[in-house]
Every structure is written in structure tokens, then in C-alpha cells.
Symmetry: C2
Subunit: 334 residues, 2 copies
């Protein structure tokens, strides 16, 4: 274990850099301890170009940020990096990242530290987003909260007793892989009937595409031209059609939202959080998903868990990850 990675850092008067590494883009921000973004930039990840390219891309992007912000490394408390994958925050090593080809056992903290010589901390991307909302966003001041990242997949971050909860091997928070129907559709995780298979963008699109294919093969007379290119379905279009009561998508969207209600009810009965925060692409549907989810949870969860419970959208939008990654530098014991 590299003690410099886990050291406690108290230099709150300084700035921190947050990196949010995604499969398609890298977001980087320079942030002060009040959550103000001093400078922000976004570059394509070009993940297909491989591990070395992406690592260099991160390093160059940090240099670019420092240059554009006319900042000096002396002004920086450190760098927090959020990465989507299996990793160990204590050693700073990424074990495996499904959306980043070649990323296996990458000592990313050590690599970045060698370049910039400031403390570097690592976190799972969903935990970083949760930490952002907890530190600067919708869940400011909340000790016990659950953050769902509703995007291509469904991820999650658990903030319990005021700290990020990571579990035995930094794997905790896989909210997308709550089983909501033991006899449901296969999930890419190897499981069956996971929340992600019903309620993620990919899950919803797959179910619509499967339904169109099924009708075409079995009852083509029922299907006029849908106007949907099943190789390129957009989620916003599906939600728009659902609002217009299009029978092709309505049940699928309703079920996606109902299963989000099931998953959140499970979280609420299990963890008794004060707040549930929804972030990510699907959360952009706003009240269209928030109202039915709240109705489900407040009807189905145990009464004792509903005292004070708030279910809300995140406030930081696509900046939650960079803000949370930066804020890791100012947290003790995380």
C-alpha cells in the first residue's frame, strides 16, 4: 500500500483537480473547496486506442487544464480520479475496466503522481458522482444517502454514516445488479433479471428492439412503419413516444420506471437512507420519472423508513463526477 495515496490532506485553502474518465470522454475540472469550478475541459477518451494512449491522454489533459487555467502545481492539493471499473482505492490500482480496453492492473495513482508529484486518489466513477452530490450538490449535509447513476448502465454510490461505503473489495454499490425479477431477462453481468436489464438506457432500448423484432417476425400486419431504426434508437424518442401513449413502448417504459421503484424500495428498506439521489441521462426526464418513482416507494416501502425520506434529482448534472473526484482530496478516511 502506498501511504502517500491514503494520507489525510487538510489543505482546504488550495484547489484540487477532479478527473472523470468515461468510455467516450474525459472530463477534468479545477475546483476550489467550496465546489466552485475554476476551469473545466472535456476531451475524447479514444478508449479504442488502448491503455497507453488513454493514460497519456489523461496526463496531457491535466497539463492542458493547468495551462488554460494559468495555474501552478503549488496551488493544487492533489488530483482525484474517478474511473468506471473494478479498482482498489487503497493501492490506487485499477484491476479491470470493461469500457477501457487493455486496462488491467493499472497503477494509475502512481503513474499520475510520478508526472505531477502531488497526492493522487482513485475512486469508482459512481462513488465519485455520489460524493460530488453529497459534498456540493443535492445531498449536501446528508449523512446517509444512495445515489443512482441512470445511464447506459445503472451504477450507484452508497454514502453511509457520512462516508463512501465500498465493501470488502471496493465493489459495493452495484445497484444495477439488484435482482428485480429472478426469472427475468439475461443481464450482461452473467446474472438474470437485474434492474439494469429493465431500467438502464441499454435495457430499455434492447427491450424495444426485441419487441419490434418479435412483432415483425410474428404479426407483421400489426406493425405499421414505426419510424424507429432499431439499430439506432434514441432514449429521448422512446420516452417521448411513451408520453404520447404509443403502445409499442409504453409498457416497457412504465415497467422500467416501476422496477426503478422496486430497486429504490429495496435500498430504502435495507439501508434507511435520508436521501436517494438520481443522476445520469435518464434522470434528465425529471418529474416524468421522479413522480412515479416517489409514488411507488412511498406506497411500498416500510412506513418507518419514510420519515424524512427525500428522493430527488442530482444538482450537479454531468459535473458530479469531476466535482466528487476533486472533493475526495478534502475528505478524511476516504
Amino acid at each position: 500500500m502506498d501511504s502517500e495515496i491514503t494520507q489525510e490532506i487538510y489543505t482546504e485553502n488550495k484547489l484540487a483537480i477532479g478527473v472523470d474518465l468515461g468510455g467516450t470522454k474525459i472530463g477534468i475540472a479545477m475546483v476550489n473547496c467550496n465546489g466552485k469550478i475554476i476551469h473545466y475541459l472535456k476531451n475524447p477518451t479514444d478508449a479504442h486506442k488502448g491503455k497507453e494512449f488513454v493514460i497519456n491522454n489523461i496526463i496531457e489533459s491535466i497539463h492542458q487544464l493547468l495551462n488554460e487555467a494559468e495555474a501552478n502545481l503549488d496551488d493544487i492539493s492533489g488530483i482525484g480520479v474517478g474511473i468506471p471499473g473494478q479498482l482498489d482505492v487503497r493501492t490506487g490500482i485499477v484491476h479491470f475496466a470493461p469500457n477501457l480496453p487493455g486496462w488491467e492492473e493499472v497503477p494509475i495513482c502512481r503513474i499520475i503522481k510520478e508526472e505531477f508529484n502531488v497526492p493522487v486518489v482513485l475512486e469508482n466513477d459512481a462513488n465519485a458522482a455520489a460524493w460530488g452530490e453529497k459534498t456540493f450538490g443535492a445531498a449536501k449535509g446528508i449523512r446517509d444517502m444512495v445515489c443512482l447513476t441512470l445511464g447506459t448502465g445503472i451504477g450507484g454510490g452508497l454514502i453511509l454514516d457520512g462516508k463512501i461505503y465500498r465493501g470488502h473489495k471496493c465493489g459495493a454499490g452495484e445497484i444495477g445488479h439488484i435482482i428485480v425479477n429472478k426469472d427475468g431477462p439475461d443481464c450482461h453481468c452473467g446474472g438474470i433479471g437485474c434492474l439494469e436489464a429493465y431500467s438502464s438506457a441499454t435495457g430499455i432500448k434492447n427491450r424495444v428492439a426485441d419487441k419490434i423484432k418479435y412483432i415483425k417476425e410474428n404479426s407483421p400486419e400489426l406493425l405499421a412503419d414505426t419510424g424507429i431504426d432499431i439499430t439506432n434508437i434514441r432514449l429521448v424518442d422512446i420516452f417521448q413516444r411513451a408520453r404520447e401513449n404509443d403502445p409499442l413502448v409504453k409498457d416497457i417504459v412504465n415497467e422500467a420506471i416501476e422496477y426503478l421503484g422496486v430497486g429504490i424500495t429495496i435500498l430504502v428498506n435495507l439501508l434507511n437512507p435520508e436521501m436517494v439521489v438520481l443522476v445520469g441521462g435518464i434522470a434528465n426526464e425529471g418529474e416524468n420519472i421522479l413522480t412515479p418513482i416517489r409514488n411507488f416507494v412511498f406506497k411500498r416501502a416500510m412506513k418507518a423508513m419514510l420519515n424524512d425520506l427525500k428522493i430527488d434529482l442530482g444538482k450537479l448534472k454531468e459535473k458530479a463526477g469531476v466535482l466528487g473526484a476533486a472533493a475526495l482530496l478534502w475528505q478524511k478516511n476516504n
Copy 2:
């Protein structure tokens, strides 16, 4: 908040008293800090006689324990009390206990402290059992573990980062109220399709009774004398019949065990524990439930969560509660 309730107690060379208050009996033990039970006794709760009677019953039982053990209050670090209900460990007040008539807003810590003048700590009974297994039993040395109490109902205790996790209002750990089938049977909690409705002793018995009633009403010719008195079904008999492939109960028992697998898979994907411990009456079925549960979880949970994962029976049996309650006296910050 009564600061004497939450004070840190370091007098590990002393003894502690653990009280496990149940709806039918009170278990009380004098315990040393190695988990050795110096003296143990069990009295009927007589819960139907009301709150005052039961409180007095607890106090008299503690006096009885001290007398029988020929111990002195000077030898005692304090008293830990595990109670099945909604309570606040910080204030030491029991808000509500469904199996203890009249128990509403009972300041049990203050009452016991007034009698014995030693520190008194309160805990939910399932958390106390989990803490017992963590401190002296199957999960000794484990930081992240989930304990399921499989009895009349299904309860749970979450030990996360080495501490009891209680959530916002001390309500966390309601593992019995994980929704495993959103369209399933009604649950007494007000929800639908909870794990408890399928896999608790009460759930299994109810489902067998409902099935017998249904067959009697609809196809009585299919049903020879079952030999089952549906007003007085014993769980051990149901499990015995299931092992003998009795079609009347087999599917219900298999489904009960399968849904336990679903619930534990959800816990594993969500919390990434190192260990899952099963205690309570149904856990007495031993390998008959452990093997199919393990098979389900190791097939259906995410691979990353299965490193090191152990699923085992508790070791302390019916003493888990008293041992855990006593051990609360020796834990910092809980």
C-alpha cells in the same frame, strides 16, 4: 441525548450483561470480554401482561442473574439490551415494538440505569445478534458482513466497515422486506412480495395453509388426508415433507430457499460483504438450506463480489443476541 448512554467504555477486564428481549422469552447472560458466558438464564416475557410488567420482568431477571451468579454490580461494565422494534440507540428510547403490547416511546435505557446505576446501551435485536456473531462467532475478525435472522420473520444486521450500520433513523437492515417479486403476496409490513412473505417460517406456513385450503375448496378429490393441522403447522415437519418430495410442500420450500438466494444475491451485489451469516430457526436446517443458497448466489451474483465471499451458519445459536448485546459495551462508537 444522554451522554452516559453513548460514552465510550474501555473497561474490558470487567463483565457485561446482555439482555435479549423477545416476544415470548427474555434471555439474559453475564459475559466476559472473551465471549465466555459466566451465567445464563431465560424467563418467559409474558408480553401480553403489558409494558410495566415486562419492564419489571427485565429488571427482576437482571437481579436474578446477579444473585445466581453471586456477582456484584462493581464487576459489571454495563448492560446491553437487544429489543425487536423501532428504537433510537442514541437516546435509548424504544419507539414501537410490534410484539410487545404497549411499548411506545419507552426510555428503557434510563429506566434500567436508574435501577442499576451502570451504563446501559440499547440495540435492535437483529443488530445485536449480528454483533454477537461478529464479535465472538462465525464472523470474528470480519469487517463487512451481513447477518440474516431467519425465524418467525426475517430480520437482519449489517456490519459495515467493522461497525453496526443503522441508517438515518436506526431502521436499516430490514432484509425481510427486500421486494423479491413486485407482484407477489401481500406482506404484513404493508408492502407486496417481500422476502419475508416467501421465506420466513410464517411465510412458508401461510403458503402451505393457503395451498391446502385452495385444494380443499377447488379439487378436494386431489387431497387425501394430509395429516397437517393447518391451524398448527410445524416448520420442521414441512421441511421433512419437502425432503421426502411431498408435492404439497416441495415447491413452496424450494421457492422459499430460492428467494433467500435472490435476497442474498441482492445484498452481495449491493454491499460486497466478505461474509453472509444465517442465524435463527430456519438456519437449523443447516446444509439443507445452505447448499442451495450458496449454489444460487455463486451462480447469480457478480463475479467480482465472489472473491473471498463466505456464506455460513452462525455459531452462537440462540445465544447470539445476549452475547452481542453484552459485547456492545466494549465497542467504541456504536
